[in-house]
Amino acid sequence: MKLISDKKPAFPWFGMDIGGTLVKLVYFEPVDITAEEEQEEVENLKSIRRYLTSNVAYGKTGVRDVHLELRNLTMCGRTGNLHFIRFPTQGMHRFIEMGSEKNFSSLHTTLCATGGGAYKFENDFRSIADLELLKLDELDCLIRGLLFVDHVGFNGHPECYYFQNPSDTQNCVKRPCTLDNPFPMLLVNIGSGVSILAVYSQDNYKRVTGTSLGGGTFLGLCCLLTGCETFEEALEMASKGDSTNVDKLVKDIYGGDYERFGLQGSAVASSFGHMMCKEKRDSISKEDLARATLVTITNNIGSIARMCAVNEKIERVVFVGNFLRINTVSTKLLAYAMDFWSKGQLRALFLEHEGYFGAVGALMELLKASEEL
């Protein structure tokens, strides 16, 4: 059953990215619904739309990032608002049960999903909610979604930004920019873990490498070290801490700069290096530990990204992923690291919709798949 006579897919339009830690959901809310459509629209669909658009929080852990909403967007010939929703992957089973309760399968829509969870939860979707997932590759989706959002812009503003004067903390300012000619770019996706891609065109890319030291490591270590429970809590603590109480700096070892190798005294020589010593362990705060964890993980990602950029001969490094959400400590640090260690050769770029591109890419696949029917 099709609601609209042309080849457009049936509503609701969802794109879903089920990661290791977070599920990212984008929902296209059509605002150009005709009276005729309104009449034909089943109650079920209406209630979903109302539920999603009238709330900003769902259950205990679901959140709609209202500030990211893309308004009056045209997709597949329809105009609407794109909503960005996230909840922890731990809540996935509850989500599937809800799909079952709401009889989601009666809507005859295709649920496009990417991320590892699309594979892991496929059977649960089928057996519990009678839903068939269209599984999509996460990197394909990531790139497609990123290019799309960058293209449509952020409600009249650029999606992309960078930091001017990254090496000067006083004068470091966030500046909007566009990815007019985006290729080649090194795309660093920091989720629970990190994937690094060299992207030459929408369809031509390779995964250069990855690292297991990512957002999940930051949060996991913070929970163990400080007893915190959420990413927000961890970041809040980190923002108040001083990592130099935890890390051993070059000057702690050499008294100043290590001139033989051009290392500044303020550079970190050993992350958590002070913690080898009992007295130091006894004198640090949880905030210091959170900050050190954040700085360690961020610097390491910066270092690997920079090496990849040099090896792949790519000057533009784009950082995305939910690790960067509300995390200016890390974005500024990455901008600084790219600039400083490459002597100004590399530029770090960031995108406002950090972690949602995979979900957007999945939604686009839904629209594309329907066109091809």
Partner: protein, 784 residues
């Protein structure tokens, strides 16, 4: 007993001062302090490494020719005199920082030499102990840059210690796979994992650059580990980690995907997010699991960065060092795994046997620049060096703290008389492996040879005592030798990898080093002398018998002569039994003992065909035993080559080993033969017969470490034939050596076990004539 000396009533881990009542064992640690100079010290976080240079007085056996016109010495050909010789030695000792004061006191008490004014120092702890050192020793502490010392030390060990570098494979039959010394050690990458990580690219002796690094290193493992667990010591954290399960803490690909991420080739067991599962408040994690996860996280991260730098700089040799590595199987394994993963097996992680000493060696070299140590070749002294992973201060901290022992580890290196270089005729020097059998990998062979050397020990002790009848304390010294060598064999039984690949050669060399250590420089000197005397009497008769033969018959008789001569070998147990019980065992009898053709390996027909062709330009002949072998076997063969118009270079050992003829003995013998034989005389006169020392003092032969002079002669003379004689040189070693010219390997197998293994029997003959591929069709003969 160099390893793991025990000092009673010591409480380990007392802060940096130690109970003064402990005394250090003077014969075992800080040896030769009386002549010590040029001290250097490297003080790390927990261990101190001390280096110094000493001169060692050694007894050496010298032969001296008599004036034979006078006839006053009866029948004896030459005289044997034991002289004192002074050789240079480098000492390196590693011990815990806790003992530093005790050790400094000991050094002060034993130091006689007063020329020394300065001690070179490096390492993070050098600053802390500066005052103590200056006060105790009265030497000025002169600090040297840590990284410079590290690189200098690394270059030195790579250049001078064969089998310095190894690949570590946890689950293989032998965990350590030692690497050949590459003729050119540069360029390489050194990844030093201390509290942080430094990645250094080394391009030449003096050119190196820190191309990168990381703050996530050993300090991160230690610091975070101490925060996450109740364990506060580094090595205990490693032990804890080795028992943990990281999958309880890490988020794996399969935790996200339910399986593998097939399209990217990421397996399900791959770690997607380190500590990804610990982002929860309502679960307790085991300390071992967290330590293991931390270890994986840090090792993988370092491995990844090292690979990125290796790729960027196009380097394939990557050495790992620093306290994070230092002989810890756990970290060597995780780093190896990581490198293997990130380079898809293209780059191997290399580790160094003496990694812990690099800083001390480098600091020492900085201080000794005026002596120019790098212009000499140095050799590891097996007698004075603790092996890899024998009881050392790095290992088993728990055990150590319980037993309260003072442990130390030593490395001694002797300055070699001659500078050693590779034979220019090796087909592919970088892939040349001297040894035929690696006993580290062959448990059965290892078992046999260790037994064999243990079994022969009584005989060696007896002969050593007999060689010094005028020394009353020889018996006592010989007993010490026995203990030392037996202890080495025991070490090798437990840790076959202790001194690099275990081979018959290394077992023989270790025995020679131990004999020298206790001043038995040449136990066979008298036997060699007697046999040379006897054999010389038959020389003319043997040559005449050959001369009357037809050319064809003579060629065969010359070969069987060399082979029969080679039966006379005190180094082979089966033969020494016969020789000892029946001194009349003659040359002719030896010929009868030989296997009938076809021999076990027999390319005589090809050799014979070759002899019909044009003469060789120059033959290089590595000779074996004294007595019948050299005089009645080799010399007539050489004489025939000279007659054919081939120049001959006779290469013999520089110093004694078993009953092998030494260069100085061969000089005398050849002169005596020349006096009887105009052909040999003419050869010497016209310099068509040259006697050159090999630079070796081993019964085996390493063609990559030969006297520089020999290499020059070989090149200048356009040598086109290499002859290697005897079991030690042509079977235990070099059996598979590929040369860029024709070669002839001749030996009689005088060991029934080996004969058996090769599919032959006692006195089976190996006659292997080879022409390098491309010159002629390649004779095929492979038995090992």
């Amino acid at each position: 007993m160099a390893e793991g000396a025990r000092v009673d009533s010591v409480t380990a881990h007392a802060a940096h001062t130690m109970d003064k009542s402990i005394t250090l064992p003077p014969d075992e640690i800080f040896r030769n302090l009386e002549n010590a100079k040029r001290f250097a010290i490297d003080i790390g976080g927990s261990l101190t490494k001390l280096a110094y240079y000493s001169t060692v007085q050694h007894k050496v056996a010298k032969v001296r020719s008599f004036d034979h016109t006078a006839k006053e010495h009866g029948d004896r050909l030459y005289d044997i005199a034991v002289q004192e010789e002074v050789t240079a030695r480098l000492h390196f000792i590693k011990f815990e920082n806790a003992y530093i004061e005790t050790c400094l006191d000991f050094i002060k008490d034993h130091l006689v030499n007063t020329d020394t004014k300065v001690i070179k120092a490096t390492g993070g702890g050098a600053h802390k102990f500066k005052e103590l050192i200056e006060k105790k020793l009265g030497l000025k502490v002169d600090k040297e840059d840590e990284m410079t010392c590290l690189i200098k030390g690394c270059n030195f060990v790579l250049r001078n210690i064969p089998h310095e570098a190894f690949v570590y494979t946890k689950h293989a039959d032998s965990e350590f796979r030692f690497q050949n010394t590459h003729p050119d050690i540069f360029p390489y990458l050194l990844v030093n994992i201390g509290s942080g990580v430094s990645i250094v690219k080394v391009e030449s002796e003096d050119k190196f650059e820190r191309i990168g690094g990381s703050s996530i290193g050993g300090g991160t493992f230690w610091g975070l580990g101490a925060l996450l667990t109740k364990t506060k010591r580094f090595d205990e954290l490693l032990q804890l980690a080795s028992k943990g399960q990281h999958t309880n803490v890490d988020m794996l690909v399969k935790d996200i995907y339910g399986g593998s991420y097939g399209s990217l080739g990421l397996t399900g067991d791959l770690i997607a997010s380190s500590f990804g599962k610990s982002a929860t408040a309502d679960k307790e994690f085991s300390q071992g699991d967290m330590a293991k996860s931390l270890l994986h996280m840090i090792s993988n991260d370092i491995g990844q960065l090292a690979c990125l730098y290796a790729k960027l700089h196009n380097l394939s040799r990557v050495y790992f060092g620093g306290f994070f590595i230092r002989g810890h199987p756990v970290t060597m394994h995780t780093i190896t795994y990581s490198i293997n993963y990130f380079t898809k097996g293209e780059v191997q992680a290399l580790f160094l046997r003496h990694e812990g000493y690099l800083g001390a060696i480098g600091a020492f070299l900085k201080g000794a620049e005026e002596d120019n140590p790098n212009q000499y070749s140095w050799g590891e002294n097996y007698a004075g060096s603790s092996g890899l992973m024998s009881v050392s201060p790095d290992m088993n901290p728990m055990q150590r703290s319980r037993s309260g022992t003072f442990l130390f580890d030593m490395l001694e290196m002797d300055r070699l008389e001659r500078q050693l270089v590779k034979l220019p005729l090796l087909q592919d020097p970088s892939s040349y492996i001297p040894d035929t059998m690696d006993l580290t990998e062959d448990a059965l062979a290892r078992e046999y040879w260790l037994y064999c050397f243990e079994d022969a020990l009584d005989g060696v002790v007896k002969r050593a005592v007999a060689s010094q009848p005028e020394a009353p304390e020889a018996q006592e010294r010989a007993e010490k030798f026995r203990q030392k060598y037996r202890h080495k064999l025991q070490t090798l039984r437990n840790q076959p990898f202790a001194y690099g690949s275990l081979t018959v050669r290394s077992l023989l060399d270790t025995r020679e080093h131990c004999l020298n250590e206790f001043n038995f420089p040449d136990p066979y000197s008298k036997i060699k002398q007697r046999e040379n005397d006897v054999a010389l009497k038959y020389y003319l008769k043997a040559v005449k018998a050959l001369d009357v033969l037809q050319w064809e018959e003579r060629q065969f008789a010359l070969v069987t002569g060399v082979l029969a001569g080679n039966v006379f070998d005190w180094g082979a147990k089966a033969v020494s039994d016969v020789l000892e019980s029946d001194p009349e065992f003659g040359f002719e009898e030896a010929k009868r003992q030989l296997e009938e053709r076809p021999w076990l390996v027999d390319s005589y027909d090809q050799w014979f065909a070759r002899l019909k062709g044009p003469p060789h330009k120059c033959a290089l002949f590595f000779v074996d035993n004294s007595g019948v072998d050299i005089i009645l076997g080799v010399m007539p063969f050489v004489r025939e080559l000279l007659s054919r118009g081939t120049e001959v270079v006779l290469a013999s050992n520089s110093s004694p080993a078993l009953n092998d003829v030494t260069n100085s003995e061969l000089q005398i013998l050849t002169e005596r033969i020349a006096a009887m034989d105009p052909i040999v005389q003419g050869g010497l006169r016209d310099e068509r017969l040259l006697l050159v020392q090999s630079g070796s003092s081993s019964p085996c032969l390493d063609l990559s470490r030969l006297d520089k002079v020999l290499a020059t002669v070989v090149r200048e003379r356009n040598t086109d034939l290499v002859i290697i004689e005897g079991m030690g040189r042509a079977i235990h070693t070099n059996y598979y050596a590929m040369l860029s010219c024709e070669s002839l390997k001749m030996a009689v197998i005088k060991n029934s076990w080996l004969a058996n293994r090769l599919g032959g029997k006692l006195f089976s003959v190996v006659f292997k004539y080879e022409v390098p591929a491309g010159r002629r069709e390649r004779p095929v003969s492979s038995i090992l």
